[in-house]
Symmetry: C2
Subunit: 272 residues, 2 copies
């Protein structure tokens, strides 16, 4: 731990807030509900006790925040719905601001997040990680809505390529987003990491400027690259979807590597 | 017809062979099997009677050539399997040349085209217009094969964006190709129009150099653009998937427009 500690010493002293990715940092997901990563429950408690501001920044779109937070609380995490920045509520704000009425291609469990949104006579498509809802018929239906619009608007909740579950790798929302982008010759607007606006709203909710915040995540592009684009420092944990080849990524280099969230919190709290 | 006739006079005299797209030029497809386009049955007969060489060049991958040709014969077309250039047989040649063993994500009715190909322990993925076979489970399975390969090879039978059937627009193979490309960070090798090699093999089978051949199709990019890249002249018919906005395409301009195949044949035969 001397390595990351020394590398971070120079700038970690200024830190006033932390943004934590959830899946792969707090817990590993899976069909059985998943399991906490060793040391992460205690690490979240220590952050809260330290007086640092804290926000959970996730691209999770397979459940409402309520359901998602309940699962994490069940694992022992000190977390509340109000502390979570997630794509669906951010998308709802955008839909309302721009008077967009979405056709939803999302997971059944995410639909309640859009309860307040007018969905009649849709003038855009919102795509999330729909999982089993990514059927041939549903994709054709979303495509027909888009191609029938004079100016197609496609809003994508994240742009992940794939993720791992207990029964194997699954295509993530980004792959289906690309299919619709190509078919309709349109560029999706991504809500969620790595979109700059998404990190900015998480920072605003925390009341901390990017220079005084650190993002901790397992995804080299969506967590680390996205946060750095926003002017934040970013650590990559060697848990979750981390792979050794991430350390040779052609474009993104984290400000430091840590073995896991517990080690990151050790080092950060030592600098305060 | 004075317009296209005059435009074509200068170069149509040199023509020795015609390549015809099938769907949208000979017939309109649909769940009911489709229907011939007015004048096309007679136009094919006139081409054959003229002594011009003729080849049918299709991206059809929802049926074997045998089945496809039978359907067209049933509509009255003078066509045989040996006259058809289609992506699946071209893909089979490539697979054999490069000792590739495919995992197939194709329409059930296309599978017999790959009967002679070793499919055990796959080291590549072949994707066609799988239609109802484009399920969430099948896409994840093809993805896992690809991502598990040291050097992923994805062969796509065409790169169409969408097509129209009697019950509405459907996503074509290109959209699903893009999803897998993105998820695996790989570039698909396209077999079929607009690939240069595909047109070249059709020309070779006809024994006519590109300068003496004319492609007639309804697809501005895959038919017209692809053939022109190959050094051929190309006509766009105003049938099938033709849309008036094709005439303002930013990159591709046909050598002439014709209302339909019958008119194209009228004009070409007048020049001989």
């Amino acid at each position: 731990a001397a390595g990351p500690g020394r590398a971070m010493a120079a700038w970690a002293r200024a830190v006033r807030g932390l943004l934590l990715d959830v899946s792969g940092v707090l817990y590993d997901s899976g069909g059985d509900g998943g399991a906490p990563i060793a040391g992460s429950v205690e690490a979240v408690r220590r952050i809260k006790a330290s007086g640092l501001k804290l926000r959970f920044c996730t691209n999770e779109t397979q459940a409402t925040r309520e359901k998602f937070v309940k699962k994490l609380q069940g694992m022992g995490f000190d977390i509340s719905v109000a502390e979570v920045t997630a794509p669906a509520p951010a998308a709802c704000r955008i839909l309302k601001e721009r008077s967009l009425r979405p056709h939803l291609l999302v997971h059944n469990d995410l639909v309640p997040e859009f309860a307040e949104v007018d969905k009649a006579n849709p003038n855009c498509v919102v795509i999330g990680d729909a999982a089993e809802n990514f059927t041939y018929a549903n994709l054709n239906e979303a495509f027909r809505v888009l191609i029938g619009l004079e100016k197609p608007v496609l809003i994508s909740l994240g742009r992940g390529r794939y993720y791992k579950e207990t029964d194997g790798l699954k295509l993530d929302v980004g792959a289906y987003m690309k299919a619709l982008e190509y078919a309709c010759d349109v560029q999706a607007e991504v809500v969620g990491k790595p979109a700059k606006m998404f990190f900015e709203s998480a920072l605003a909710e925390m009341g901390v400027p990017p220079q005084q915040a650190i993002m901790i995540g397992d995804d080299i592009v969506n967590d680390v690259g996205g946060a750095q684009q926003c002017g934040m420092r970013a650590l990559q944990v060697r848990t979750g979807k981390y792979r050794p080849c991430d350390e040779n990524h052609p474009h993104v280099k984290p400000d430091a590597y840590v073995n896991n969230l517990a080690e990151a919190v050790d080092i950060i709290l030592q600098q305060l």
